[in-house]
Every structure is written in C-alpha cells, then in structure tokens.
C-alpha cells in the first residue's frame, strides 16, 4: 500500500510541476507578444509652469508669429523714423512694405 501511495504522490507532484512549468512558459510568451505600450499621455505637473507650451507642435507657429511680429515692428519702426526725419501727413502713413517686384 505504501509504495502505491508514494507513487501516487510523485505522480501528483509531477503533474503540478508540469502545470507550473507550462504556465510559466505561457506567461513569458504572452509578454513577448504584447504590443508595445503606447506612450502615456503627458500630464501637466509641477514642472510645467502656467503659460508654457505643453505641446511641441504649438512651438513652431508661435515662433513663426513672433518672428512675423518682430518683422512688422522693424519695418514700422523704420517707417516711423522716416516720418520723424521729414514729418508730414504723407510720410506718417507711407507704406512700410517695399514695392513688390513684377
């Protein structure tokens, strides 16, 4: 009787070990086939001050607009300097843009 019980115990132990190994192997595989994680959405936090750009996509149009404004300020400044050198109603409202080439 005793050898039979020992054999039975070994069989049960073998089955358990087999299941454990199979489970572990399947777990590794399921990790392998998981699709890459999408980047987590950016959270506003301590290091994003109010008023800072939260998206790099916004950076380009913002800087483009800033450059446009600075160009406008320069050309208007030059037009205003011309007015101060020779003040008249005409020079005050003269165009600040150079004539377009044909």
């Amino acid at each position: 009787m005793q050898p039979l019980l020992i054999s039975l115990a070994f069989c049960i132990l073998g089955i358990v070990v087999t299941f454990l190994l199979f489970g572990a192997a399947m777990g590794d595989r399921s990790e392998e086939v998981q699709p890459p994680k999408a980047p987590e959405p950016r959270q506003d936090g301590f290091f994003l001050e109010e008023g800072m750009d939260s998206s790099p996509i916004m950076e380009t149009p913002t800087n483009a607009l800033l450059l446009e404004l600075e160009h406008r300020a320069r050309t208007e400044h030059k037009a205003a300097e011309s007015f101060v050198r020779g003040p008249s109603a005409e020079s005050l409202h003269a165009s600040s843009e150079p004539p377009q080439a044909n």
Binding site: L66, E76, H77, L92
Partner: protein, 156 residues
C-alpha cells in the same frame, strides 16, 4: 579697435567725457545673456562698447509668454535710461544678441559728478532728452499708424 562715438557724450569736452567714462564698470555679456529684466531696479545706465543688445517686451501668444524685440542698441548707443529717471525701474528687458561689451555707469556716481560739473550734466541730460524724445516721436508715429490701420480695417 576704434573708439565708439558715444551718443550720450556728444558735444562734451573730451576731458569731461573721459571723466564720465572713468566711472564705468566694464561688463561682458555672452550671447543671449539678460542684462536687466522688466520691472527690475534701474541703478546703472549702459553704453554699448561692442556688440548689441535687444530690448524686448513680453507678448502672450497662444497662452505662452514670449519676449518680442521692440528695439535694439548697438555700438556707441546707450540703454537703461530709466536709471536716471524716477521711479528707476526698467520698463523693458535687455538681452545680448551676440557677445557684447558694455560700460555700466552708476547713477549715484554720475549724479555726483554732475553736481560738481553742471555743464557736463547739462550736456549729458540734453543728449538723453534727444534720445528719449526721438524714441517718443517714433513710437507716437507707430501708434497712430496702427490706429490708421484699425480705421481702414473697420471701414473695409
């Protein structure tokens, strides 16, 4: 290196000019370095010896604050005249647009010299009035040009 023609010292006898320049503390800025910020206490007026400085004011674009250049100062020109006029607070930010060398003239030393040499003080303040006056006229003209544009857009 040729010596700059200082707009602030124009018309001064050479020895008076030298005395004023002797008060200067040499200051070097790397490209992009801030010389002073808007709202800061103005204790020095600056003469640009070499390089250039952009004077900027903040604008909000799409929720972001950006510094917009409204004027620039280069060799021989002065900036920071808020140091000589109450309430002695800068109304612009100054940032080096390239490697820049300046002379920083302390207000207290400058006024002390003016009290001992009123003729030099008169000449410097006259030059300053010319610079400030021209700037006022230019910005008045810019402002009315914008108003004219507003009228034209409104009528369009």
């Amino acid at each position: 290196m040729t010596r700059p023609q200082w707009e602030l010292l124009s018309g001064l006898p050479q020895e008076d000019g030298e005395r004023i320049l002797a008060l200067g503390i040499r200051k070097t800025l790397a490209e992009g370095e801030i010389l002073f910020s808007l709202g800061a206490e103005a204790s020095h007026i600056y003469l640009v010896e070499r390089g250039g400085v952009n004077l900027t004011m903040p604008v909000r674009i799409g929720g972001a604050q950006k510094e917009m250049t409204v004027e620039d100062r280069s060799q021989g020109q002065s900036l920071g005249w808020s140091a000589l006029i109450p309430p002695h607070r800068f109304t612009l930010q100054a940032q080096a647009r390239e490697h820049t060398e300046l002379l920083a003239l302390p207000r207290t030393d400058l006024f002390d010299l003016f009290s001992r040499n009123p003729a030099a003080g008169y000449a410097v303040i006259s030059n300053l009035a010319r610079v400030v006056g021209q700037r006022l006229q230019i910005f008045q003209a810019m402002w009315i040009r914008e108003m004219q544009r507003y009228v034209e857009l409104r009528d369009a």
